[in-house]
């Protein structure tokens, strides 16, 4: 039985990947950070009680900023594959916590590579590094492919740039099977609530039920290439099943603006949005609202602007198509529809709770 270790197993990709690998018959190990609060809700459905025999899903306490914890976990498991998905993954937060971002995202990747090297597992353990389209930042060509030069625009992207190149370096210097997946934005109903797509679907669902008044966003013109995380984790796995380790761009090849995403999500709920004004005064009005409201339901808040913005990202997944047989199965509209559907469910749950006199919270950032 193959053994896989996933860092960042409690995140969106970690959860989907764990599910996929379990389905493929792997014994799956995950690293989770110590927290006083439960932080495993995305993988609770996979959880197996430690007293169950023949467990195939096992969590370990560890931290990307703690070398010895990583060495110990890897030594114990002797994994065939390591997927390094752990990161401080929020671009805006990286401007506020640049050192932590560098420590966990850049040094974190190096610590795993070093652990493999220290334990003499260079020939056994295959390594996947979660790289990102944010590396392209101020894009040097459109669309972006594996050969497009990087121009990172945030401490997050700079940290990921370090991780990208150190992965390439360990592949070349020590002959390790190590790959970068340069994944463009990939979303799902379990995307973190502070990321823009989830923020949108969650807010619109709540607005439609009268639980929230207005959705505040940053740059509405930002264009992204959005796919579904479930499709993308399959490519992560495939990258480690090749003859030779290589880096791949994973993207849909289609882009939409944040504004497009809002309109598409609203349409799923039957809300028609009319955009008025421009720049920071741009607002979205709910044209067919049941209460014929006159106040906007979408507005721009400059606090969500980044000190340096990434305006447009569009991937060219030709290489992945040719070598990995990459065809995204889930379309943009199916993605939006699924996200809205799930967020409507939880909004309805909140509505129910509220109607029985219990407090509910918006949890806006």
């Amino acid at each position: 039985m193959k053994k896989a270790l996933i860092t960042g197993v409690t995140g969106q990709d970690g959860a989907y990947l764990a599910e996929l690998l379990l389905k493929k018959g792997y014994e799956v190990h995950g690293v989770k950070r110590r927290s006083s609060l439960f932080n495993t809700d995305r993988i609770d459905h996979l959880y197996q009680d430690p007293h169950v025999s023949d467990r195939r899903f096992i969590l370990h306490h560890g931290d990307m900023t703690d070398s010895s914890s990583l060495v110990r976990i890897i030594q114990k498991i002797q994994p065939d594959e390591i997927y390094n998905l752990a990161a401080q993954s929020h671009v805006a937060v990286s401007f506020e916590e640049p050192e932590y971002t560098a420590n966990s995202d850049a040094l974190g990747a190096l610590r795993i590579l070093e652990a493999i090297r220290i334990l003499g597992l260079e020939k056994k353990t295959r390594f996947y590094q979660a790289s990102t389209s944010e590396l392209y930042g101020l894009v040097q060509e459109i669309p972006q492919k594996e050969t497009t030069p990087f121009y990172p625009r945030s401490p997050y992207a700079v940290a990921k740039l370090y991780a990208y190149w150190i992965t390439v370096n360990y592949r070349e210097a020590y002959g390790m099977y190590a790959c970068n997946g340069i994944l463009f934005n990939h979303e799902s109903p379990i995307r973190g609530e502070t990321f823009v797509t989830r923020k949108i679907t969650r807010a619109l669902a709540r607005i439609s039920l009268g639980l929230q008044d207005c959705l505040y966003l940053g740059n509405l013109d930002a264009k992204r290439d959005w796919g579904h995380a479930k499709d993308y984790v399959e490519m992560q796995w495939l990258m480690l099943q090749q003859e030779q380790p290589e880096d791949f761009v994973i993207a849909t090849g289609v882009q939409y603006s944040v504004r497009d995403f809002v309109s598409a999500a609203a349409k799923e709920i039957g809300m028609e949005i009319e955009w008025r004004g421009s720049g920071i005064d741009e607002q979205g009005y709910w044209k067919n609202s049941p209460d014929s409201r006159t106040s906007p339901i979408v507005a721009v808040d400059p606090r969500y602007f980044r000190p340096s913005e990434v305006e447009t990202l569009l991937g060219d997944p030709t290489k992945a198509k040719e070598k990995l047989g990459w065809v995204p199965k889930i379309s943009f509209s199916e993605l939006v529809s699924e996200m809205v559907r799930e967020d409507l469910k939880s909004a309805k749950r909140d509505e129910l709770v509220k109607s029985h006199g219990f407090a509910i919270y918006n949890f806006n950032e």
Partner: protein, 327 residues
């Protein structure tokens, strides 16, 4: 310069570039502060060699400790910072990758963050490296050439370069990187190959009878003279607008040519004294390093006067004198 105050803080003051830069800035009327992890324990031999040990004010600062960086900046109130501190050996970076990353990438980040936090109008120079380019396939690298780092050292330097670009874009800091190609001097640390060659050739010329062991002699580098490179650093910070510049001679030579030139200066034929040593081959050796320094010439009016042959000659001359003085 505002109020006429010219106060520079140099990190990595003990190194070759730090010492030459300190002397250059002192000559330009600067008050010069040199930072070292432990200023009391450091010997600052290079500053002494240049006769400026008592003119440079040394301070203790650990680049990995945000408090110590902040404190140093508040106390010194520099108008210019030159960040030259780094774990600077490519081969050592394969053995100490974390320390290399922390000293270079996190160190630079702490300086940028401290400048952002304090909001003082400091001009910032960051030491980039030609190692970031990796092999350019024989094409000369210019400022627009994408990076292709091939060692943990070069990866760390690449990340630091982009931090500087990002903080310049995001916060309007006056921050520049100089992408310096190889630059040598007698102040180079002994482990660097040029110094190793010059020292060995000198001893052989004195009849030591030893053999010199070298790795790949076919690697090609652009070798310049460190003393004049520090002027380019200073020039970058005197511009209206911050930008990044390549600093190089524009000439590339093989290590074999350099070795031959050095031995020739001692009247020797290198082939009689040099052995190939497999152990000295790096895991991921960079073969050809080639530069196009035209932007520095156009925008800074800077051009290298000394080329590889001058560098080889000047290093042999100085080392010969140095050894005579010691005796």
């Amino acid at each position: 310069m505002k109020n006429g105050i010219k106060r520079a803080l140099i990190t990595g003051i003990s190194g070759q570039d730090g010492s030459y830069l300190a002397r250059y800035l002192l000559g330009n009327g600067y008050e010069v502060f040199g930072a070292s992890r432990d200023a009391q324990a450091a010997s600052f031999t290079n500053l002494s060699k240049l006769g400026i040990r008592d003119k440079v004010k040394t301070v203790s600062m650990s680049l990995n400790d945000f408090r110590s960086v902040l404190q140093a900046l508040v106390q010194i109130k520099p108008t210019e910072i030159y960040n030259l501190a780094a774990q600077s050996s490519v081969s050592l970076s394969f053995e100490q990758p974390v320390e290399t990353m922390e000293s270079i990438t996190i160190g630079t980040l702490n300086l940028l963050e401290a400048m952002r936090f304090l909001g003082m109008p400091i001009r910032f120079y960051n030491a980039g490296s030609s190692e970031c380019f990796g092999d350019t396939g024989g094409e000369p690298a210019n400022e627009a050439t994408p990076f292709r780092p091939k060692s943990p050292y070069a990866v760390a330097k690449s990340a630091a370069f982009w931090e500087v670009v990002n903080y310049r874009d995001a916060y309007d800091l006056f921050a520049c990187s100089g992408i310096l190609f190889n630059h040598e001097s007698p102040l180079r640390q002994k482990r660097f190959v040029t110094i190793k060659i010059v020292n060995a050739a000198y001893r052989i010329a004195q009849g030591s009878g030893e053999r010199l062991k070298l790795g790949n002699l076919d690697i090609q580098r652009d070798w310049g003279w460190a003393e004049e490179y520090v002027e380019a650093m200073w020039l970058m910070l005197q511009k209206e607008v911050p930008d990044d510049y390549i600093v190089a001679t524009g000439e590339t030579h093989t290590l074999k040519d350099f070795v031959s030139e050095v031995f020739l200066n001692f009247g020797l034929n290198w082939e009689d004294y040099v052995d190939f040593d497999q152990d000295l081959i790096r895991p991921n050796e960079l073969l050809v390093s080639k530069a196009d320094p035209i932007k520095a010439y156009h925008d800074l009016g800077w051009q290298a006067k000394y080329r590889m042959k001058d560098v080889a000659r000047m290093m042999t001359e100085v080392i010969r004198d140095d050894w005579m003085n010691v005796r």
